[in-house]
Symmetry: C2
Subunit: 423 residues, 2 copies
């Protein structure tokens, strides 16, 4: 791409003309609407539409991207090409400039309404580490793991935009198999750094999508923090999987990076051995050279490489629909924790502290096994562009707060009756 935008883009912004991620923003006292990030600005698509500068079928004066996402690939491509014209051809400048709003003046909302939320488990390094931690004497990977992208449904209603507080969940957990379960705040609260993709174009019931349908149905990518309460998870998950340990909050980044923006980041994924069944084969390389960074209270504690994911996004899509379940606009599919082979590439505290046995040291001299109230976790990610630069997937951040229902909790207390800690 050689077009140079007339709008100034600060070095390292990551929101250059090759990115153009979509989001939903609002100015104080105004209704939310759809915009595209460029440099330090958001381009107000509803404003452009009102002047007839972009095609619009009531897509942009909306509090969610769902209408535009449902319009399909031809509409996405046409709009992307048009925005590049508007931002690079000098003669448009006078009409477009009034619709560039400084990012620091807007509030960003959750960019789309989530239909169903599916979470995969597609990093072989993560799955193997979890296996080693919980089943040290068995094969770390379950027998199915190399044959299909293991996944499950999460709670769509608690997917929240970056910056929304994360309340420490209360629930049941059991310290050891000999003890009775107790009730109280989770003591092993964790993050999981993931990348998700969101469906735009729906599909028909009973008609599985092949891996080659990815670009036609998937609108873009977001960063995901799949907050997890490890103590609740360990106790509740047999035999039907995680439930309340995950359902209290899942945070996503406000900017949805179009699939087209990540074309230059595509690389060959790891070799799959044994070979996958035909419905999971993919003719094109769909590994993504995206580097994730995880910050705890502002300090980078891990840099997981997304290119190391064993299962790719088109394989996840093909698997999720193979049984005939149709895709709905707004379906969110998260990758599962992104972990690389190295110690400083692990994507959650469970792995980074090896089940809580090896605390990590922070720059302020404190140590962490799991998250404490007041801790802030930020995930950001970067990918190469065709022009040799790098684009940003933005960031997803969240700060842990005590439960608002039990604000005066006594840490470690066992609860005698709901709301009344027994110390």
């Amino acid at each position: 791409m050689t077009d140079v935008p007339w709008v100034s883009i600060p070095a390292g912004s990551g929101f250059g003309i090759e990115n153009l991620p979509y989001g939903v923003f609002s100015l104080p006292g105004e209704l939310p609407r759809v915009g595209v990030a460029i440099g330090n600005h958001v381009l107000d698509l509803a404003g452009l539409a009102a002047e007839g500068l972009v095609d619009d079928r009531r897509w942009f004066a909306s509090g969610s991207l769902n209408g535009f996402m449902a319009a399909g690939r031809a509409a996405w491509e046409a709009n992307r090409a048009r925005i590049i014209e508007l931002l690079t051809i000098e003669t448009y400048r006078e009409r477009v400039e009034p619709h560039l709003i400084p990012l620091d003046q807007v509030e960003l909302a959750r960019p789309f309404d989530v239909a169903d939320y599916v979470d995969f488990y597609s990093s072989i390094h993560h799955a193997a580490n979890v296996g080693r931690i919980f089943r040290p004497h068995a094969d770390p990977l379950p027998p199915n793991w190399r044959h299909l992208p293991v996944g499950y449904h999460g709670r769509a209603g608690t997917v929240q935009v970056s910056g929304t507080p994360v309340y420490r969940p209360w629930g049941q957990r059991r310290e050891t198999p000999e003890q009775e379960p107790s009730y109280g705040p989770s003591r092993r609260l964790d993050f999981e750094a993931e990348i998700g993709f969101v469906a735009g174009m729906p599909s028909a019931p009973g008609h599985p999508l092949p891996t080659s349908a990815f670009r036609d149905h998937i609108f873009g990518f977001v960063l995901v923090n799949d907050w997890s309460a490890r103590d609740i998870q360990a106790w509740e998950s047999q035999p039907l999987g995680p439930f309340l340990s995950k359902s209290f909050a899942t945070s996503i980044s406000p900017w949805v990076v179009p699939v087209a923006a990540l074309e230059a980041a595509r690389v060959a994924p790891p070799t799959q051995d044994p070979p996958v069944l035909p419905y999971l084969r993919c003719d094109e390389p769909w590994g993504l050279d995206v580097t994730v960074e995880i910050l705890l209270n502002g300090q980078v504690i891990s840099r997981p490489p997304f290119a190391s994911m064993y299962w790719t996004s088109p394989q996840q899509l093909a698997h999720a629909t193979v049984g005939g379940a149709p895709l709905r606009t707004g379906d969110l599919f998260a990758s599962g924790t992104v972990s690389g082979p190295e110690r400083d590439q692990r994507g959650c505290l469970l792995e980074l502290t090896w089940g809580g046995t090896e605390p990590i040291e922070l720059a302020d001299g404190t140590r962490r096994t799991f998250l404490e109230d007041g801790d802030t976790v930020t995930i950001r990610a970067f990918a190469p562009t065709a022009g040799g630069g790098r684009l940003s997937l933005g960031e997803v951040t969240g700060t842990v707060h005590p439960s608002p229902a039990f604000p005066s909790e006594v840490p470690g207390a066992i609860l005698g009756s709901a709301g009344t800690p027994e110390t």
Copy 2:
């Protein structure tokens, strides 16, 4: 209740004045709207509202119950009381009668938009049978089972109304641990007879609901068939639980029976031992004396008693929200398979045929281990009323069809590439 409706109600209809379930119906060529079943008729609430006969805030001229469900308990109670007046006080007859439409003239739609779908596992007989079938030498119940109502999230997007075709899912399954997994149509397709409840009034994030909040937040009950592909389930479920084995279809009955209509069915639930943690305690008896009937191709094959469920609906609600996840209008919570202690009270074929080893014989001389294409499963249920009669929860029915994507499947074929069976 002593009011006698002026509208004629056939004996055994189950849709008497003590029931008044809500649904969404349409007449040919007209938009769907909200109605209440009475005898062989549906009372058109949108029509009554247009004449000012019922309070309405755009609740009833709608293709879903969600607006009315969100209005809360006071609105539900007021509307129920008003409908009883309109149907029992003779002076209303002239104005109301034009809004009674014969049920056989209408089409019934899915009654509400499903927000999140949660499926529990709350029958001790079902859980123990499944444990005995899959883990014959271990404790049939997992260690957590008596301490919390085990549950997981299912797919909201494939919840469909009774009568919608059920397409046999394709997917991966492995016959034995020694074999490689193969891809093809499920060979162990099953039903699960369940009863679900649907949320009306939302709750706030971070504020768990006590069991006593059940009536304020829950609008009513539906019948649920949680179709399940046992071969896919056995292979995919480790370690994160069921995914595609359940996500292809979940059928619900078209009539939502108000919580108030089941007051007379409340009985003491089974004793819980060990005692539950305080947040799961319930001062009122919330067992429900509902008899479920399962018909396979028109023949009753089981009569599971819902009163035998170990975990009650208010306990399920308290558990689902204890971690702080808020309730949304349209959240659907299913009980899990309803099975009683007797052989002819089992709620799914997995149990009825003991993992496929003991086929059941049908009246037409054929035998079944699991469902065949063309089979129709119908679930209905009945509960006592205060007046000594019985009310119906309606029915949920579905017929199994081959996948429309692979209509010419060769039964038992192994697929070489998507859509091309290798025989």
